[in-house]
């Protein structure tokens, strides 16, 4: 289905947007880079350039030189910003502690997210980074950009910011690193009115939704991740920009269980493409793999001689639920026991394809904190259709938001709230009956709390009688 934008799309032309000439953009030689000394001595940081890998220090020094060559007259914030950034980092290495202060009253009018305040606690020493606010820009789904946009964005950020950016942050946004408070509103104006993009989420907001490349390039995509991501971004604008959640909340959209955006490990609500019917098997192609006519894994491991393809060693015995077998030379799959691990499909893509009745599994409660281990999300809805206008999915999202806003404590992620009150309660709230797919290890621990009304005929339990034999 052709993409249907919800508002007119702007055609950008870099020649109309550009702020610098080609000569200004290519303003130094490699010889000058070799001889360049930044404003502060940074011996500890320079050790990071010794290894075999590219170093951010080398890149930052190169960029510091470029800013000096551009000159303060062509820049709206201090031309020494990169020098001072390196200088302050060196000082942090010496002191073994950070010199950044986080947070504050910075933002753009009406928005509660998208700008993260950061200040130096040694501004006299490093005035170029006295303010070093981060701005998050909502990336387009799957990060397909037009070079006119990217070049325009880089010019804008060079002119009004530090010129340093991340493509992309872990939420997927374009992260513009470092500018002063007075530049925030003009940058916002340029981003929205000229470059036609919005700020992303930060704080107690819905964070910028992210999706995999989806049907744009991937044969495995089981629903249109870009369409759904775009729809949710547009539908939940208020949640993206006006923070009222107990803490951050993330959606991520994976087109298939390969999970290229790792929604299962990072998103409070993970949407993972799946299928309801049977895996499609082309038995001739299975034989072709066995006979060595097709390289397994699409040839992804062909750099070494791994020996003849062995369907038992490489596929059947690796099936996590043991649901595959060969019978009379034919591959057989017990589809009811398939957990959608994708290994067989990835290994023999010409022989096996997902079923044709496709949709999403919805999982809840992942988080990937820095100080603790990641918490994976839990399967709650094994299958749901994922087709525009996604009203069925929006209904689940709305119920989740409503409940979490009520039940969640300050700074508590959805997964922590679910753990605190119990998955069973959460399932009742969103109206989903318990299913084996929700149990972490259903084959070894099928335990579930049944309520009297859930069991035909019910049951009676005398708690006083129980306590007479079991101390609390």
């Amino acid at each position: 289905m052709a993409f249907e934008p919800k508002r007119p799309q702007k055609k950008l032309n870099y020649q109309e947007l550009r702020l610098y000439t080609d000569e200004q953009l290519k303003n130094y030689t490699e010889e000058e880079v070799k001889n360049f000394k930044p404003k502060h001595d940074i011996p500890k940081l320079e050790q990071l350039e010794d290894g075999p890998w590219p170093s951010f220090v080398a890149d930052a020094k190169r960029y510091a030189l470029r800013r000096h060559k551009l000159g303060q007259e062509n820049l709206l914030i201090n031309e020494d910003v990169v020098d001072d950034l390196l200088g302050q980092l060196e000082l942090s290495y010496v002191h073994g502690e950070t010199h950044w202060k986080h947070g504050g009253i910075v933002g753009v009018i009406g928005y509660g997210g998208g700008v993260i305040g950061r200040y130096s606690d040694v501004p006299e020493q490093f005035p170029g980074v006295a303010h070093f606010h981060t701005m998050r820009v909502n990336q387009v789904p799957s990060k397909f950009y037009d070079t006119n946009f990217l070049r325009g964005l880089c010019d804008l950020w060079e002119y009004r910011g530090s010129g340093l950016l991340n493509m992309h942050g872990s939420t997927g946004d374009i992260i513009l690193l470092g500018t002063f408070t007075e530049q925030l509103e003009p940058i916002f104006q340029e981003l929205t009115q000229v470059l036609d993009v919005d700020l992303g989420g930060s704080g107690s907001n819905l964070r910028t939704p992210e999706c995999c490349v989806g049907k744009a390039r991937c044969e495995y995509a089981l629903y249109d991740t870009q369409e759904m991501c775009y729809e949710m971004v547009m539908h939940y604008q208020d949640e993206l920009h006006r923070p009222a959640f107990p803490y951050k909340f993330k959606f991520k959209f994976d087109g298939c269980p390969n999970g290229c955006v790792a929604s299962i490990a990072r998103a409070d609500m993970s949407f993972i493409g799946t299928w309801k019917d049977d895996i499609r098997i082309n038995q001739d192609a299975v034989q072709a793999y066995i006979n060595g006519e097709f390289p397994p894994g699409g040839g992804s491991h062909k750099g070494r001689d791994w020996g003849k393809f062995d369907i038992y060693a490489e596929v059947i015995d690796r099936c996590p639920t043991g649901c595959m077998s060969m019978e009379d030379g034919k591959l057989v799959i017990d589809n009811a026991n398939c957990t959608r691990c994708m290994h067989c499909i990835n290994t023999m893509p010409r022989a096996l394809k997902p079923g044709v009745e496709t949709g999403v599994s919805i999982l809840f409660g992942a988080k990937a904190p820095i100080l603790e281990g990641a918490q994976m999300s839990v399967m709650v809805i094994p299958f749901m259709k994922a087709e525009p206008p996604y009203d069925n999915i929006k209904e689940i999202i709305d119920r989740t938001f409503e409940w979490w806003m009520e039940e969640g404590k300050n700074r508590e992620r959805l997964g922590e709230t679910i753990q605190r009150v119990g998955l069973q309660r959460f399932c009742e709230i969103i109206g989903v009956p318990p299913a084996p797919q929700m149990v972490k290890e259903p084959r070894t621990n099928p335990y579930i709390f049944w309520k009297e009304e859930d069991v035909p005929g019910g049951f009676k339990r005398d708690i006083d009688d129980y306590r007479s034999r079991h101390a609390r």
């Binding site: 202060k101 504050g104 009253i105 933002g107 509660g112 997210g113 305040g117 930060s202 300050n410």
Partner: protein, 77 residues
């Protein structure tokens, strides 16, 4: 809506040392004063007060709080 906005401002003015509050704290205080207020209405009232310049957002980057403009830290620091 006006009674909710009034309750929000009164709550934020009542803080003796604390000047920035989580939305949940505001929500609880408002529901105590205006029992039939719904969460979404309180959020809308907060957004309206932000747009009117009465409230400000205070963000650490990971969480967001609300404060009265002019009370506590309200400028660059």
């Amino acid at each position: 809506m006006e009674d909710i906005k009034k309750a929000i401002v009164e709550f934020l003015e009542s803080g003796k040392t604390k000047t920035k509050f989580y939305f949940k704290d505001i929500e609880k205080a408002v529901k105590d004063k205006v029992p039939n207020a719904r969460t979404l209405q309180i959020k809308k009232a907060c957004s309206a007060l932000i747009n009117e310049g009465v409230l400000i957002y205070y963000s650490t980057g990971s969480t967001t709080m609300y404060g009265l403009k002019g009370k506590g830290i309200t400028e660059d620091h």
